[in-house]
């Protein structure tokens, strides 16, 4: 191996160490019986027990799961119906439709969150659970992009065969199109679930004072000077990261099938 290649290899390895050390340290501290990693007094789940008996953490966890699940189901339904219809539109119209939907993906979250909350204030729409769900659901185009890409690569002959053999379009859609789309539906759904699960800014803007999701809870306990790091927060943050990593793994698996 040439010296240059070796150097590149060492450099890449060092950057990965940089990327993973903070997360690893945080995860390790959450399993430590002592308050921080320095006095590592042994492996323990005491902070997990403490976190999971904290009523505020439990309700934040519940809210996070509930919001992400509802958002995923609705976003998938909207994305599939739209992709199916756009597939049958003229080229020009389809392109314009795509471009309009993509805007919500590239707009920075903080600017989008502010415009949405001003709309809610202007219409006196109550902030809270429903506002948060609506805010996350505006991200349905991320599912649409994935589903649309799969649909564009699909051969139409199977659908046509089903129609020729007498099935209605609805039946064709349910029994032919949908099963073919499944890998894309799953990977798109995983993406929007993660965006919702991870969302802080949008949730923070559209929530009501008593409504917390996990990222909001972590923000409220850990941001700003003087508040800093709590072992219970390490534990719940570790749980949240494990969920994210599991989702990432599933996503990569389903992308391979797609």
């Amino acid at each position: 191996m040439r010296a240059g290649d070796l150097l590149l290899k060492i450099f890449t390895g060092a950057v990965f160490v940089f990327l993973y050390t903070p997360i690893a340290v945080m995860m390790l501290s959450s399993f430590n019986a002592g308050r921080n990693l320095l006095n590592f007094t042994g492996f323990s789940l005491v902070w997990y027990e403490r976190a999971l008996s904290n009523q505020r953490i439990i309700s934040a966890l519940f809210n996070s799961v509930l919001v992400a699940t509802i958002v995923t189901l609705l976003a998938v339904a909207m994305a599939v119906l739209t992709a199916f219809a756009v597939d049958r539109l003229g080229r020009k119209f389809a392109l314009a439709y795509n471009n309009v939907l993509y805007v919500s993906i590239i707009i920075p979250e903080i600017a989008e969150a502010l415009t949405l909350v001003l709309f809610f204030i202007w219409t006196s729409f109550p902030l809270g659970f429903y506002a948060v769900v609506i805010g996350h659901l505006v991200w349905f185009p991320i599912v649409y992009v994935v589903v649309r890409a799969r649909m564009a690569g699909m051969t139409k002959t199977v659908e046509e065969a089903s129609r020729v053999l007498g099935a209605s379009w609805l039946r064709t859609f349910i029994h032919v199109t949908l099963p073919l789309l499944l890998p894309a539906v799953v990977s798109g759904g995983l993406l929007v679930f993660t965006w919702s699960w991870d969302s802080f800014i949008k949730t923070q803007f559209t929530r009501s004072p008593g409504f917390e999701t996990l990222p909001v809870y972590i923000w409220n306990t850990a941001s700003g000077r003087g508040r800093g790091v709590l072992p219970e927060v390490n534990a719940i943050a570790t749980l949240s990261i494990l969920v994210s990593i599991a989702l990432a793994y599933l996503y990569v698996r389903y992308r391979e099938k797609d």
């Binding site: 119906l81 805007v103 903080i110």
Partner: protein, 284 residues
Amino acid sequence: MRLSRRALIILLLPATLFYTVFFIIPFFISFGVSLGIFLPSDVQISRGELITLRYYEQVFDQIFLRVFLRSLALASATTALCLLIAYPMAYYIAVKAVRYRNFLLLLVIMPLWVTFLLRAYALLTLLGPEGFVNGVLLSLGLIQQPLFLIYNETSVLIGMVYSYLPLAILPLYSTLVRLDKTVIEASRVLGAGPLKTFFKVTLPISRPGVFAAVLLTFIPAAGEFIVPSFLGGPNEVYVGTLIYNAFLAARNWNWGAAMSIVYISVVLLGVVLYLRLVGEELRV
């Protein structure tokens, strides 16, 4: 399979309606708010102004201009550092590490699935006053007092690079992986050294990837709010912090709306320019 016009409209209706009501209309409402047409402030009402540019004047005020410049500086430094680190890494993964390519790519993607909030928090557990680094140094007796590793500009920059690096690696990887190796070999065979080959062949070919990496890091970095709030001092205010405070702390909606409109316009302009540039490249 063809569908009737009516079926098409029924299928398109839910998403179109939802997107229009909760994404497109809010944008126009906010534009109205930024001009004081909707949700006018008390000052504006007392002066009887129905429509005003005062909130845009506030955005381009001296002090806020300084915040904008500081955000641009942070975003530029973040983007430059990310590119410098990401390019060699993407090159290594795409061209050299063929056998472990997919595994290394997974290692790049995984941090992106963990929210910025948690990654900034993780940096806090590493570098904070009670953090791991300080703890090790203290217990080794190298220092007597914990060092202030965070709450300064350097820690914000480290946090930014840490957060945005994977976003810069991915587009660079996808252009470099399609790089035709025979072109590089041709350059070498014809007598160009490795440096000359890199600057005259590899870098120009990977230009679309570099553009995409710049866009993906620079735009969100300019409005980044979470990383500076966790790792920056109280005086380090950026555009993201301003928009956040305009809404949640100061309740100055009009000013927040004006800032968001300016920010969104800059972003859209950047994307349009990018598509133009890359579009040209692809055509050539």
